[in-house]
Structure formats: C-alpha cells, structure tokens
C-alpha cells in the first residue's frame, strides 16, 4: 500500500526524495520504495524519517 502521508509530508517541506534520503542516511531508492509501499522500513528508520519531517510515527506510519 502506498504511503501517501509520507509523500505529502515530504512535499510539504519542499524536500526531494534525495534530500530526505540524505538526511536519514539511506538511498533515494529506499525512500521511493517506502513511499510506493514496496518496502516496510524498520522502526529505527521510521523514527529517523519522522524526526526529519517533524511528524509522529502515528501520523506517518500508523494505518
């Protein structure tokens, strides 16, 4: 399932996938895979993404 909340949160901060990837220390393809729902990130990566985007885990990853 696509993670549109992550995509919109990123877009709201005017960040590219590459920017977000650089900030959390992963590859752009990994961010792309998470947004497309092709990859389930570990809790550690979820927390990193939430910190960078200023969101909670619930807001971005809880269904």
């Amino acid at each position: 399932m696509k993670n549109l909340r992550l995509k919109s949160a990123r877009a709201a901060l005017d960040m590219s996938q590459q920017n977000l990837a650089d900030r959390v220390g992963v590859s752009r393809q990994t961010i792309n895979a998470i947004e497309k729902g092709d990859y389930n990130p570990t809790i550690r990566l979820c927390i990193s993404i939430c910190r960078v985007l200023g969101k909670t885990l619930d807001e971005l990853f809880w269904e």
Partner: protein, 173 residues
C-alpha cells in the same frame, strides 16, 4: 593448458586483482555502506546465488553419474562460479543494492568491466583464429574460458547501464 591459455588466465587474474583493489580502496575511503533495504536485498541475492550454485552442482553431479561429459572439470567449476557471481551481482544491481547508499554510477567500474569483456572477447576470437579447440572429445575445453568471462562481464555492465537508465527515467516521484 597451453601457454596461450595460461597467459589469458594470468591477464584475467591481474584484472580481477586490480578491480578488487580498486573496490577495496573505494570502500575504505568513501561512503559506500548500504542501508537496511539494500542489506536485505543483498541478503536475498546471496541466498539466490547460493541456491543457483547448489542446483548447478547437483545438476553437474547427476550428469557425471549418468556419464554425460559436457565440459572439462575446471570448466564446470568455472561456470558454476561465474553463474553464482552473475546471479548475485545482477540481483544486487536490479534491487539498487550494488553501489551503496549514494547509488551513484561509477563510470570507472563500468569502463573496467567493459574493457575486461572486450579483451576477453578479443582473446576468444584470436583463439578461434589460431585454431583453439573449443570442444575436445565432446567436452567444452579451456578455449571457451575467455568467452565465458566476456559474457559475464558484459552481462554485469549491461545490467548496470540498463538499471542506471531506468533509474534516471524515474529519478523523482
């Protein structure tokens, strides 16, 4: 193994050694670590590579038991080795788990791979022109060695270039 073949093997080994040193140097001086998705993809690639090799060894064993001789022993071993390496590398490339977190295409790597492919291709053609025996008593012989290496390196180079092109098309969103 005649002197020409030995020379080709030595050249190949030297290329591999140079390539390995370049990879080690690059990994020690730059950020080429893999993220969690890439590590997971690489683990899967190792798994597939292992099972391909296992299946291949079983197949060779069965053929040997049935007394079907299709290649000399060292060629059989070489093919198994190359097969598993190709599976591992190509899966890593397809899954974006080959160039590390940066994901940047290293042109030097691709050029080295292509150079090895072309040189081995030339060596194979030269061998044929010089009357090199490819099939000896119905078994693939050492003369096929440069062609195998050429195919492997060409396959890896093509996989890298195709993946790079696809990634470029879908760069963002």
């Amino acid at each position: 193994m005649n002197l020409d073949n030995l020379f080709a093997v030595i050249i190949g080994m030297v290329f591999l050694a140079v390539f390995a040193v370049l990879v080690i140097l690059k990994n020690s001086y730059s950020e080429s670590r893999y993220d969690e998705r890439q590590l997971s993809a690489r683990n899967n690639a190792y798994k597939y590579s292992f099972f391909v090799l296992l299946f291949y060894i079983i197949l060779c064993a069965v053929l040997d038991v049935c007394e079907i001789k299709w290649a000399q022993t060292y060629i059989q071993m070489l093919i198994g080795l190359l097969l598993s390496v190709v599976v591992l590398t190509v899966i890593c490339i397809i899954k974006d788990a080959y160039f590390g977190v940066s994901g940047k295409l290293n042109v030097v790597y691709v050029l080295i791979l292509l150079a090895v492919a072309v040189l081995n291709g030339c060596e194979f053609i030269r061998g044929i022109q010089n009357g090199e025996i490819l099939i000896d008593n119905g078994e693939l012989s050492m003369g096929i060695f440069p062609a195998l290496l050429s195919i492997v390196f060409l396959a890896i180079s093509v996989a890298i270039m195709v993946k790079y092109t696809v990634n470029k098309k879908h760069t963002e969103d």
